[in-house]
């Protein structure tokens, strides 16, 4: 696949932000450690180098999700194209893990659409980003998983 242009428009179409009461290293690990990923997302995720592909393998709960890796810099930043298996990846997703004050870590997901989304998708499916961050937050802060609600 040809890597899409990593220069994203200034204004994302959707932003999800969740704050974790944990050091940045622990928050990075919850999104990259295979065991944590299996708990949180119900499937194994493989992320290639910049220019390569990434995939979240299908599980009994989730379809496979795949796309291209656009950027991994600076540390804690991951920019991907995003799409389900049946469709070519049409959208960009920026995933940022940054330190906030007082030992808190901020996780931001910005979605940039390459086309107009129908209103029900924008209002429904995209809200899932914050919900997706709820499970990892519970796991990091309490040590106990919050089962995926979907």
């Amino acid at each position: 696949m040809t890597p899409p242009d990593a220069n994203l428009p200034d204004r994302p179409d959707y932003v999800a932000v969740t704050y974790f009461k944990a050091p940045i290293e622990r928050v990075r690990r919850v999104f990259t450690d295979p065991a944590d990923q299996a708990i949180n997302f119900g499937g194994k995720t493989e992320i290639g180098e910049v220019g390569e592909r990434w995939i979240r393998h299908a599980s009994d709960k989730w379809p496979a999700i795949t796309g291209g890796v656009l950027a991994k810099e600076p540390a804690g930043c991951l920019v991907l194209t995003w799409g389900f298996d049946a469709n070519p990846p049409p959208d960009h997703v920026e995933f940022l893990i940054e330190p906030a004050a007082n030992g808190v870590t901020r996780v931001t997901i910005k979605q940039h659409h390459s086309r107009d989304w129908p209103e029900d998708l924008t209002n429904g499916a995209l809200q899932g980003w914050n919900a997706l961050l709820a499970g990892p937050k519970t796991l990091v802060e309490t040590g106990t998983p919050l089962p995926a609600p979907f």
Binding site: A16, V17, T18, Y19, F20, K21, A100, A101, N102, G103, V104, E119, N123, Q127, G128, N130, A131, A134, G135, K137, T138, E141, T142, T144, L146, P147, P149
Partner: protein, 153 residues
């Protein structure tokens, strides 16, 4: 659909009753909502006010719907930032649903005005407040950054 709209969905390991109390009762909101607290009897038609720790009214409005512990709808007018106050009433809706293994909170803050500054401002504030609320309910401790009213505000 409103012209300006902020939506936040989160799942919390708690009960609908505890979440309702955490959103409405002063002893909870003071801990995670920058020391603020709300005055209301939480019945439809009643007044609702959010107070700063030094006793000023931060925001106010009416209770539109109160279906404890499932749904609470308020009108919301900012009272301490002139640029936001001039925009008038917004609407805040909390919807609480029991899921198989957690409680789902859907917060919708909207206004029938394109590019509302108020909705833009609350969009910056809600993620840390709701993150802190979840931490308080699940761990007993809020996030440090939402425990104090900002100095000079």
């Amino acid at each position: 659909m409103s012209a300006s709209r902020f939506v936040y969905v989160i799942h919390i390991a708690t009960t609908p009753e505890k979440l309702w109390d955490a959103l409405t009762r002063p002893e909870f909101t003071r801990r995670y909502w920058c020391e603020t607290w709300q005055e209301s009897d939480w019945t439809p038609g009643s007044d609702w006010r959010a107070m700063t720790p030094d006793g000023r009214v931060a925001d106010s409005g009416k209770v539109i719907q109160a279906d404890k512990p499932r749904k609470l709808v308020l009108t919301w007018e900012n009272q301490f930032i002139p640029d936001l106050k001039v925009e008038g009433h917004s609407t805040l809706t909390y919807e609480i649903e029991q899921m198989p293994s957690s409680v789902k909170l859907t917060l919708t803050h909207e206004m029938d005005r394109p590019k509302s500054k108020l909705i833009d401002a609350v969009s910056q504030g809600w993620p840390s407040l709701i993150s802190s609320l979840k931490s308080l309910l699940e761990t007993g401790q809020p996030l440090a950054e939402t425990t104090k009213w900002p100095e000079g505000m």
